[in-house]
Symmetry: C2
Subunit: 237 residues, 2 copies
């Protein structure tokens, strides 16, 4: 009885995203199969799926390796997410929000506001913000009613985040980071306002810019990464 209640693809994806399997690490079927106490069959399927997701790169006759991405790759993926979520925001504005969606968004925005009401911003707050933020973005994508957006995003979502692991924050400088988060959250308010007012073009523009808030703020995240103090969201702020 293997311990995993969930399927192998999910397990492996988590192992990559959490950094348990490091970027550049070479993966062969048999060792991984033994490590997860399953046979090669599900591993083979998982490797191919993860390759399509962009988390693994196939090496001709040497298995797969965890994809490592450059800063350029990350910036490129952020641009892509920007235009996709921008499109989502515009279509959401065009479609209009349901009352239920409006209510939930207001609730999420208030939740975020409260995080910045306190004087201090802790790592626990980052976690809370992350959950709130994730749901907020998901709501807009749902409101766009365009399944192709979600499809394109899933392909991209994890892509840039295989090499680094977790939140794009400098844990040693939380005061500074709090300002970044607060700014990003202001953009949430503006996006919500634009969508509510059916201002599609404006909503799109804000959302595109908002994508850069993920980590484009200052470009020194490479240094942070090397210091091990960096963590990167697999979802935009």
């Amino acid at each position: 009885m293997t311990s995993s209640g969930l399927n192998i693809i999910t397990t492996l994806r988590q192992m990559i995203l959490t950094g348990e399997l490091q970027a550049g690490e070479r993966l062969a079927e048999i060792p991984i199969a033994e490590r997860l106490h399953v046979s090669r069959t599900p591993i083979r399927i998982a490797f191919r799926a993860l390759e399509q997701e962009g988390l693994l790169t196939k090496l001709p006759r040497r298995g797969y390796e965890v994809r490592s991405v450059s800063a350029i790759d990350i910036e490129g993926a952020i641009e892509v997410r920007g235009v996709l979520e921008g499109l989502a925001a515009r279509q959401a504005a065009e479609n209009g929000l349901s009352q239920q969606q409006v209510d939930e968004m207001k609730m999420l925005l208030t939740t975020g506001d409260l995080l910045f009401a306190d004087a201090v911003f802790t790592e626990a707050d980052v976690e809370s913000y992350h959950h709130m933020n994730q749901r907020f973005h998901q709501l807009i994508i749902e409101a766009a009613k365009n399944p192709a957006i979600q499809a394109a995003l899933t392909r991209n979502a994890h892509m840039p985040f295989a090499s680094v692991n977790a939140l794009a924050i400098d844990k040693n400088n939380m005061q500074q980071e709090a300002k970044r988060f607060a700014f990003a959250h202001q953009q949430h308010h503006h996006v919500f306002h634009a969508i509510s007012a059916q201002q599609g073009a404006r909503a799109e523009g804000i959302m595109r810019e908002h994508a850069h808030a993920t980590l484009g703020f200052d470009r020194n995240y490479h240094k942070l990464e090397q210091r091990g103090a960096l963590t990167i969201f697999s979802q935009p702020l």
Copy 2:
């Protein structure tokens, strides 16, 4: 010795795209395996891959089915492609084209021009245009130097085209169709001009609009489809 020189995923993808496997058709592993003279293993891998590509939908305990998409899905996917290729055009403009890329694009544009120089526009011309067009778009994506764009597009490329098969043209009305193609080709010229002039925003705008040329021109393609006179490109015009 299996006959297929190419891999199973490609084979199945072609069968779906050409309509040999029809939209809504239910696919079980064993029958398909026998039909392609391979074992279940490669079929299982292929089904999952094709599911991720968006060509197949999984049915809980009943196998897979060829995804059928609605007109709304198609329009949504066109919007997505619009923003992605728009981004590509903008980044291409920002990066600038190499001399080699300029030369090839000019060559492609000339090739297209010649197709419309004749009085008549034949189905063979459509085929020629298709090849030229595909290369033109690919060149812009390459020039963008953003691998995330290509990744997001592959996920989307086939999505809307599982239900219909081939070219988005009304074969019974080639004169009219020729005008559509000619217009789309003019947009190619404009995009090329904007990119060459490093006008990123303009290049992006034209490209976004150009996506609609794929079939958004007149919205009666549903009727055409029902008449069996419709065919849809798996690449934009």
